[in-house]
Amino acid sequence: MDASALNSPDLQRFLNQEKEKAMVNEMVAKLTSVCWDKCITSTPGNKFSSSESACLSNCAQRFMDMTMIIMKRVQSMQ
């Protein structure tokens, strides 16, 4: 492989973008997994009930709230 292709700023930019995308993807995947377990308690139907979809949305948001609280708390301890 031609080593100069590895140094290109285009490649660096692409890799940084993909790193960010991967982090977001991981967060979404983890959250979906956790919230699915919490919210979808019965056999999957042809569509979500309104309480199921509300639960999923709330779950994700509360998780983020909690993350903020935890971060601030840990920061205040240092």
């Binding site: 492989m1 031609d2 692409f14 993909e18 991967a22 699915w36 979500f48 994700a60």
Partner: protein
């Protein structure tokens, strides 16, 4: 795997341009994401739909699996959207 030998090296040594490298990485990433997703969906839907494994996959089990896959994809969308909205409003605090 000869996916690296598309370059223009005369003596057979592979030379990849940056664009080719980026394309390859994109394709591999997409594949990895798809496999990861499949793994999770498989686990979740097995849990929900195959409660008593029989000697073959029943009709109700098959349709449950179909619905489960659709629902899980939908759930991923709902969560992603909620996350996106949450991060938008939080950026106002920082």
């Amino acid at each position: 795997m000869d996916s690296f030998s598309r370059g223009s090296g005369g003596n057979g040594s592979p030379e990849l341009s940056t664009d080719q490298l980026i394309d390859q990485v994109k394709a591999q990433l997409a594949q990895a994401y798809a496999e990861e997703f499949l793994e999770i969906v498989r686990e979740k839907c097995f849990d929900k739909c195959i409660t008593k494994p029989g000697s073959s996959l029943g009709g109700s089990e098959s349709s449950c699996i179909s619905r489960c896959v659709d629902r899980y994809i939908e759930a991923t969308g709902i969560v992603a959207k909620a996350l996106f909205n949450a991060s938008q409003s939080q950026s106002n605090f920082f």
